[in-house]
Amino acid sequence: MAKLKPLTELRKEHFHFSRFPTTYCPGCGIGNVLQAVTRAIDETGRPPESFTFAVGIGCYGNIGNYLDFDELRLSHGRVPAMATGLKLARPDLNVIAMMGDGDATAIGGNHLIHAARRNIDITAIILNNHTYGMTGGQYSPATRLGDYATTAPYGMLEPAFDICKLAEGAGATFVARTTTFRMVQTIDIVRRAIEHPGFALVEIDSQCPVIYGRMNRWGDAVSMLKKQNALTVTLEKAKTMTPEELKGKIVVGIFKQAVEPEFTGEYYKVINRVRRPQDAS
């Protein structure tokens, strides 16, 4: 791990470290994700100014306050669609679509599956803390069956999405899951996702100690990470397990990685074919 860039440099190059401490609760996994993503970006070697973050609304949504990258942030749930417009208009940019589980799979679910279907070259990162952190702990489509939330006082009755399966079903060409505990793997997976020429989705299982942890007696950040880690099963291992055994587990790994025609590229082929020189813009 000698190749790991010194944190002091990372802070200087990619963060507004002077604005720290962040507004996140102690031990919140959002910080882990930020570090992983910036390291992955760094490791691609691509110029930092070629990266733009499209961000939604949620606890994680304030990352623009701390990150030294271009950013666009508008309404709750529209990240994949904003990212689609941006990428199509500016194919030269690397577009990172950062989302919470609520943002991505509740209100933003439609935009997510359509971005996946189009196979547009966007890197979608879903920070899955299994709750709506920002609004105080209502259940999300990623809340586990039986868990409590302010709007699930009798326990969650709706099955959660398997976000990776959903993305695959929608046509995503790169699909992976990892956790905030597995930082090394997470950096690696996010880097691959960025480098993947098509729609790439990485679900990062994350801890929300103050809301989800408390309400479900998962304890503080440390014990949440322990529990997360205890539930983690690698894809290889998972293949040897029964569906029963896999219930409640966090299966990590790269589920799909396939190279298919990328939408932006296909579109620009048409432009190059039909463009009229006299009208050039």
């Binding site: 507004t23 996140y24 609760c25 606890c59 920002m134 103050v210």
Partner: protein, 184 residues
């Protein structure tokens, strides 16, 4: 003080239970004593930890303006709170500070009482969590804005199962502490 309307501000830091204390005070005065009450608090994004504030207006008549502009009664359970709010305190009113945390009381023309609320809570209930209940008890004796009886009913109605005794002890310690400082 013969104002028929009391504006009470409870301030401190997150985790001190000031919002609940405000609700209890409002329930004591409003539901059990039959007064008119309005309770409000500051909401902010991610206001987890950090400053906390809860306000109660208690009145014999329907409360018109529902927010506290200048308080008649200020409870300050942290130095920051004391510094921030003492300037919005009326001279005729009273200020109660938790001397466990408030070491320097900013200048004010109001009457200031200092009680080590958190210390008392630790002593009588073995937990700091009920410090705000101690405070309510002290305020009840110091101001009469809520009856001891009404307050006690409100405290017990809100106390989570198993914590009734700790809360009651804290409350009574507060009553007593209030008497004590008033007699000083």
């Amino acid at each position: 003080m013969q104002a028929k309307q009391w504006e009470v501000r409870l301030s401190g830091t997150g985790g001190q239970g000031l919002v609940t204390a405000g609700i209890i005070l409002a329930e004591g005065a409003g539901i059990y004593d039959g007064k008119e009450v309005v309770q409000t608090q500051v909401y902010g994004p991610q206001s987890r930890g950090g400053a906390s504030r809860s306000e109660v207006i208690i009145s014999d008549e329907p409360v018109m303006y529902p927010e506290v502009t200048e308080s008649d009664v200020l409870l300050a359970m942290s130095q920051e709170a004391a510094d921030a709010y003492i300037h919005e305190q009326r001279a005729e009113g009273i200020v109660l500070v938790d001397s466990t945390f408030v070491k320097v009381v900013p200048e004010t023309r109001a009457k200031v009482y200092a009680i080590p609320l958190t210390k008392i809570a630790r002593e009588v209930a073995r937990t700091e969590i009920v410090a705000s209940i101690v405070a309510l008890g002290a305020l009840a004796t110091l101001t009469g804005i809520v009856s001891q009886d009404g307050l006690e009913q409100a405290v017990l109605a809100r106390a989570p199962k198993g914590t009734e005794e700790a809360n009651r002890a804290a409350l009574h310690a507060g009553f007593a502490a209030g008497h004590e400082v008033r007699e000083q």
